[in-house]
């Protein structure tokens, strides 16, 4: 019976997913048709966002301007901003505000004979666009749930699910996403951009932007599982970016360190390898202090947190270099497998770390050292080596994260690169259900936690709230998640569900 339920879940998911894909395909197929009457495509601002980029952008923009100005358009200026995929809050707000004004502009209809001609087609397209946004994630979720259940073959034990911390994280994430969907029906929609070979959409953007924290979070999870914290990751991000840009713009043959231009004079691999190596060494330094000298992790990593940014400033002499070198741009802004490269890098790292941790005994060693370092030493685990490896790994991962960050801005910024990354990473680990006291850890939970944090940020932008105030909402949502996850609360909930189950059983007897 249970197996059948799982299969039904899987099939239903597949059907919904197929419907979503059909919508997606039909949007792609009908795109050219829409271009014939592109005036209408602006009646939905998100359409503009999708379709503007890979056609004659200037002409389209001018037409749009003219239309909106002749109509109601107060906020014409907002809409003219060509979305470039790197989504800023201003643009998100603009797309939200535009939805109402634009149809009015279209109906004012100055040069829009084509508007009336293709209106029905466009509105059906819009429906497809929104349906796609609902079908795709729901289908994917159902499929995933079915697959997981079938593969694990576990029976659904409600009490144990309620007791798990990841459940609450997932529920929180889904709740936030549902609110987003209510505010913007096309929130989940995904579109393809041929000029960049990349898929665009809010969901992809959320995952893309959470890449840095997720990557650091992989190391941080194990650090926290050991019972420590690593505060130096943000500073290491700055160091890595500074070193990479320094190497790109630094000519060793010229003693005055003059910048040679927009390309690297080195073999490019050095630009990537040196920062990573330095970050690895810094991680090793942290590990040495904590493993050999038995220092408290918070304070040992505070050293590099304080001095790391100073080192980054000295590396670049306090300057801010910029570069246009395209292989470097690819790391943060390019596309790979039709996805933004950071997502692919993150996926590779997450899978790699998971395999390393769970398919070898390493993860168990980490948990053992985190629960009781002394007894694991007595049972033959070299806790110092474990600590060293974990901190070195965290350093290396922050280095990778720093490369992605500096590639996104194509520059180095020793003051702001990686600012507050340590707190975000720790929060994502804790939201993901790993206890700060050490012991058991969950890498998948960390990924969810980091996505939750990014979703909150996106969510707050949707209300048009200034970026500075994001923190208050972050705090509120995190407070709710943490209270739900708190030991006493969870015990109480679990007891309550058990009691209910007991009461039900009693009634049946």
């Amino acid at each position: 019976m249970k197996k059948k339920l799982h299969l039904i879940l899987l099939i239903a998911g597949a059907v919904v997913l197929a419907a979503g894909l059909y919508c997606f395909a039909s949007i792609c197929g009908m795109k050219d048709a829409v271009y014939a009457g592109y005036g209408v495509s602006f009646s939905d601002a998100s359409f503009a966002k999708v379709f503007v980029n890979d056609h004659d952008e200037e002409a389209v923009r001018e037409d749009f301007n003219a239309a909106v100005l002749s109509g109601t358009g107060d906020s014409a200026a907002d809409g003219t901003e060509a979305p470039t995929g790197t989504e800023t809050p201003a643009e998100t707000e603009a797309t939200g505000a535009e939805t109402e004004t634009a149809p009015a502009a279209a109906s004012a209809g100055a040069p829009y004979d084509t508007v009336i001609g293709s209106f029905s087609r466009v509105s059906s397209l819009r429906t497809a666009w929104r349906l796609q946004g609902i079908f795709l994630p729901v289908g994917a979720l159902l499929c995933l749930a079915g697959l997981v259940l079938i593969l694990r073959g576990k029976h659904l034990d409600f009490a144990s699910i309620m007791r798990s911390k990841i459940t609450w994280a997932v529920i929180a994430e889904i709740l936030i996403l549902i609110v987003c969907l209510i505010i913007r029906p096309d929130f989940f929609s995904i579109s393809y951009q041929p000029s960049n070979h990349m898929l665009y959409g809010n969901l992809i953007d959320i995952i893309n932007r959470s890449a840095e924290i997720t990557i650091i979070g992989m190391g941080m999870t194990m650090v926290i599982a050991l019972g420590g914290t690593d505060l130096s990751v943000g500073a290491l991000v700055a160091v890595s970016g500074a070193l990479a840009l320094k190497l790109m713009r630094w000519d060793p043959t010229n003693p005055l360190y003059q910048t040679p231009g927009d390309y690297t004079v080195y073999p490019f691999i050095l630009v990537l390898a040196v920062p990573l190596l330095v970050c690895l060494l810094m991680g090793l330094f942290n590990g040495m202090l904590i493993g050999r000298l038995k220092l408290q992790p918070i304070i040992a990593t505070l050293i590099l947190m304080v001095s790391g940014r100073g080192i980054a400033q000295i590396v670049t002499n306090g300057k801010q270099y910029t570069t246009m070198y395209s292989p470097f741009r690819w790391i943060g802004q390019g596309s790979c497998l039709y996805l933004p490269t950071p997502i692919v890098i993150t996926a590779v790292i997450v899978v790699g770390v998971m395999l390393f941790v769970r398919k070898t005994a390493f993860g168990t060693f980490v948990e053992s050292v985190g629960i009781n370092a002394n007894s694991s030493r007595l049972s033959g685990i070299d806790s110092r080596a474990i600590i060293l490896i974990v901190f070195a790994l965290t350093g290396l991962l922050s280095g990778i994260s720093g490369l992605i960050y500096s590639s996104r801005i194509m520059s180095n910024d020793s003051n702001n690169a990686g600012l507050n990354y340590e707190t975000d990473a720790i929060l994502s680990v804790v939201i993901g259900g790993t206890s700060m006291t050490g012991g058991k850890f969950s890498l998948a939970g960390t990924v969810i936690g980091s996505i939750i944090i990014r979703t909150i940020v996106t969510f707050v932008y949707f209300f048009g709230i200034p970026a500075d105030a994001t923190m208050a909402f972050k705090a509120l949502i995190i407070a709710v998640v943490i209270v739900l996850q708190a030991e006493p609360v969870r015990v109480w909930m679990a007891k309550r569900t058990e009691r209910r189950a007991l009461a039900k059983g009693g009634a049946m007897k």
Partner: protein, 351 residues
């Protein structure tokens, strides 16, 4: 009874008690760095009393906050919200007067209440919900700074006679020139002690009394030493912890007021990253993050050390200020290693 046995010990053994070692290390390193500055830059005025007083003035607001932080660290907790609460205080005072016309006295009292309330709330969450202090106070920090940004995103400068008066209230130091006629003369270069420094020193003294000479202080040390056994001994663990966080909230809002006196404005991003400055001052001063060990005097010297290094870099004039950060990091490393050595020494001795 215990008082009597303590008195029987000779003064030397009491002073040389290993539990004070960390404080001594801080003081000695401060003296060494000060001596280095005095030898190197004595001619350009490093040894003057004014420079010395400026060590206090530079980081007075961090110092005020460090008083509360020391207590929190002694209980084995940590508070990352101090800088945000201080920033919120500044914002409340500035916004209250400039945009709403409320007297600074009322807003100051109100912001102190906010600080105490937020601290108590976090303490309660830490004690009753078992949430790690790190996460709780981080959330509190986000909350405070977020509210700050919601109030205003731009810096509000304020102009109120009371603030000017408080900021201008200074004690000028005199020295005795002639013993027979009791002639006093201003010390040159003219040395003045600011209001913020007075608050700082008063807080340090009050903190010392609270920690060393009251039942509450002994409870704080007991909880830091071992919370479980403190609970078994029947000490009011929950009440004490909540009180400690509330006191820390009070200290942070007081630090915020001191910061307002210095900059005369409120800004939502003020003192960004200040919480780690405060924590590292306390740690440099010999407070152990694992709890149970720490003294106010050490914290004071920790704050002074944090002002000496930038002062030396300033007097040098050629070093870039980034070296200050690296030097602070190096200093932290030094202290932690010393602490480690002392701790392992005492452990070995006990065995």
């Amino acid at each position: 009874m215990s008082v009597k046995t303590e008195k029987r010990q000779s003064l030397l053994t009491r002073i040389m008690n290993p539990k004070y070692m960390m404080v001594y290390a801080t003081v000695i390193i401060f003296l060494i760095i000060y001596a280095y500055g005095a030898i190197r830059y004595g001619k350009s005025g490093f040894t003057t009393l004014r420079t010395f007083v400026n060590f206090f003035t530079d980081n007075a607001y961090y110092g005020i906050s460090a008083v509360g932080m020391t207590m929190v660290l002694i209980t084995g907790g940590i508070d990352l919200s101090v800088a945000s609460v201080a920033s919120l205080t500044g914002m409340i005072v500035a916004y209250g007067y400039e945009r709403m016309g409320i007297s600074p006295v009322i807003t100051m009292l109100f912001s102190m209440l906010v600080g105490i309330g937020l601290g108590a709330l976090m303490g309660a969450a830490i004690h009753y919900l078992n949430v790690p202090p790190f996460i709780t106070t981080l959330t509190g920090s986000f909350l405070a700074r977020g509210i700050c940004s919601l109030i205003s995103r731009e810096s509000i400068s304020m102009n109120h006679p009371l603030i000017d008066q408080l900021a201008g209230a200074k004690i000028t130091l005199y020295r005795l020139v002639n013993l027979q006629n009791w002639e006093w003369e201003k010390i040159k270069p003219i040395t003045k002690i600011d209001m913020t420094v007075i608050i700082f020193i008063v807080m340090i003294i009050a903190g010392t009394i609270l920690l060393q000479h009251t039942r509450f202080g002994r409870n704080v040390y007991a909880i830091g030493g071992n919370e479980a056994s403190a609970k078994l001994m029947g000490l009011p663990v929950g009440r004490t912890k909540i009180a400690v966080y509330a006191i820390n909230g009070f200290c942070s809002s007081l630090a915020g007021i001191a910061y307002v006196l210095v900059v005369k404005s409120g800004w939502n991003m003020a003192l960004l990253g200040g919480e780690l400055e405060v924590i590292s001052s306390a740690v440099i001063g010999g407070t152990l993050l694992t709890g149970g060990v720490g003294y106010m005097v050490g914290t004071m010297f920790g704050v002074l050390l944090k002002s000496v290094i930038p002062a030396i870099i300033n007097f040098n004039g050629t070093l870039s200020s980034w070296w200050g950060k690296i030097a602070t990091g190096g200093l932290l490393l030094l202290f932690i290693v010393i602490q480690r050595l002392v701790v392992s020494y005492t452990e070995r001795k006990r065995k």
